[in-house]
Amino acid sequence: MCLAVPMEVKHIDGDVADVEIGGVRKQIRLDLIADRPQVGEYVIIHAGFAIRTLNKEEAMETIKIFQEGWNLELI
């Protein structure tokens, strides 16, 4: 539950967004962030909620952390 990795925003519907990384899709909530992401931007997710919006460049710097074997179930 303590891992927070950037995921790409694919679709937004009110306070709910579909996000994806490496073929893993999740539905997450946007209640906690003031800077609403656009589709194509990235968000850091913690326990099903976005806690920060990142632009693509910022996201790419962090993204491979979990492409190298973080347990997806733990996100």
Partner: protein, 368 residues
């Protein structure tokens, strides 16, 4: 080279290591990392083994499962026995041993109704689908997790749900750091501050600590160069005698944190005292429900109390969490206590210090 690869560039890492060695001339740096993900990252990246001997790494109390107190475990295990209660929890708590040797996993095998959820928000669906039952979410976690639970409680109120409750076991990082620093046995000389807790609280709450105790502190990311730069910054600040708080993870952490998440957090909760495993009560280091949200407090609404209980026999988690004892010096480490047969929570969670030592340190020992 992408900007990401540059965070792993071996030449850059070597250059920073050299700078660390230079900065260390004649001094020591006993730094503590406060986040379980940093514990794992330090080992997995190999950074831990590259550091000069004068840089000593202490693992801190940064795994939310590990700091959950025996009394808190006993309270939720008691609740799990009730017929009209469904416990909703993050999976990490399932195997945490209670004072009597029980766990949620064992309770589940004995018939208790327990739902493992990925998000506190998912627990609301459990409440809606089971209108005749009381759903109790176990609210563990630091400042990163607490706002997600707060937002969920707010939604429960908006939606008029009357069968959803939270046991607030949240812990706050800065008061815990203050408590650790005030213990003269600790001799901490620097803090590697948590990346994602800081994304919520920002830098401000750490500043009084850096001033009061003269401790350099760096908010760090999780890549090799992030870790090495944080260590270099701590060493330099110490050498120059200019301790302060530096944000070295700007790509994720804004200096001011996330004000919206904090507003929601402090609408639902207010600061209170909290019990920390192996440490005891730390004033102002926890969160209790604010008056407007009292009806959602499982302690109040369901008449649960925290009772004193004896710590797990033989487990040295307290000393491990305080950085006084390295995990592999616990007499039970890798003998009676392994990730498959955990005796204490530090061996249960993948972010626990004992589990991290077991996974990485043992594999590095000669002959492996």
């Amino acid at each position: 080279m992408s900007s990401f690869d540059s965070l792993r560039d071996p030449d850059k890492c070597k250059a920073v290591l050299k700078l660390i060695e230079e900065a260390m001339q004649g001094q020591t740096l006993r730094f503590m990392e406060v986040c379980g993900t940093h514990t794992v990252a330090l080992f997995r990246s190999g950074v831990h083994s590259l550091l000069p001997k004068s840089v000593v790494h202490l693992t801190g109390p940064g795994c939310p499962v590990c700091v959950t107190h025996d009394s808190e475990v006993a309270a939720y295990l008691e609740l799990a026995k009730r017929d009209d209660v469904i416990i909703a929890t993050f999976g990490d708590l399932m195997r945490v041993p209670g004072p009597g040797g029980g766990s949620l996993k064992k309770a589940q095998a004995e018939g208790a109704r327990i739902e493992v959820v990925y998000s506190p928000f998912d627990a609301l669906a459990v409440a809606k689908n089971n209108p005749g039952d009381k759903i109790v979410f176990l609210g563990i976690g630091f400042e990163t997790t607490a706002p997600t639970v707060a937002a969920t409680v707010r939604l429960a109120k908006e939606q008029g749900l009357s069968n959803f409750f939270v046991m607030p076991f949240h812990k706050l990082v800065p008061p815990a750091l203050d408590a650790l620093l005030s213990d003269p046995a600790m001799a901490i000389e620097g803090f590697m501050l948590p990346g994602h807790v800081s994304a919520i609280i920002g830098l401000e709450p750490y500043r009084p600590l850096a001033e009061k105790y003269g401790i350099p502190a760096v908010v760090a990311g999780f890549e090799p160069l992030d870790l090495l730069q944080a260590i270099l910054l701590m060493a330099e600040m110490k050498r120059q005698g200019k301790p302060r708080v530096i944000n070295n993870y700007k790509r994720v952490v804004a200096d001011e944190g996330n004000p919206k998440a904090r507003a929601i957090l402090y609408e639902v909760y207010k600061p209170g005292d909290a019990l920390w495993r192996g440490i005891g009560t730390i004033p102002g280091s926890g969160l209790v429900m604010s008056d407007a949200y009292k009806p959602f407090d499982a302690f109040d609404a369901l008449g649960v109390e925290l009772k004193e209980c004896k710590p797990l026999p033989g487990c040295r988690c307290g000393e491990v969490l305080k950085g006084i004892m390295p995990p592999n010096q616990c007499p039970l480490f890798a003998k009676a206590c392994t990730p498959a047969t955990p005796i204490g929570p530090c061996m249960v969670s993948t972010e626990g210090s004992c589990a991290a030592y077991h996974k990485y340190q043992l594999d590095l020992s000669p002959g492996k």
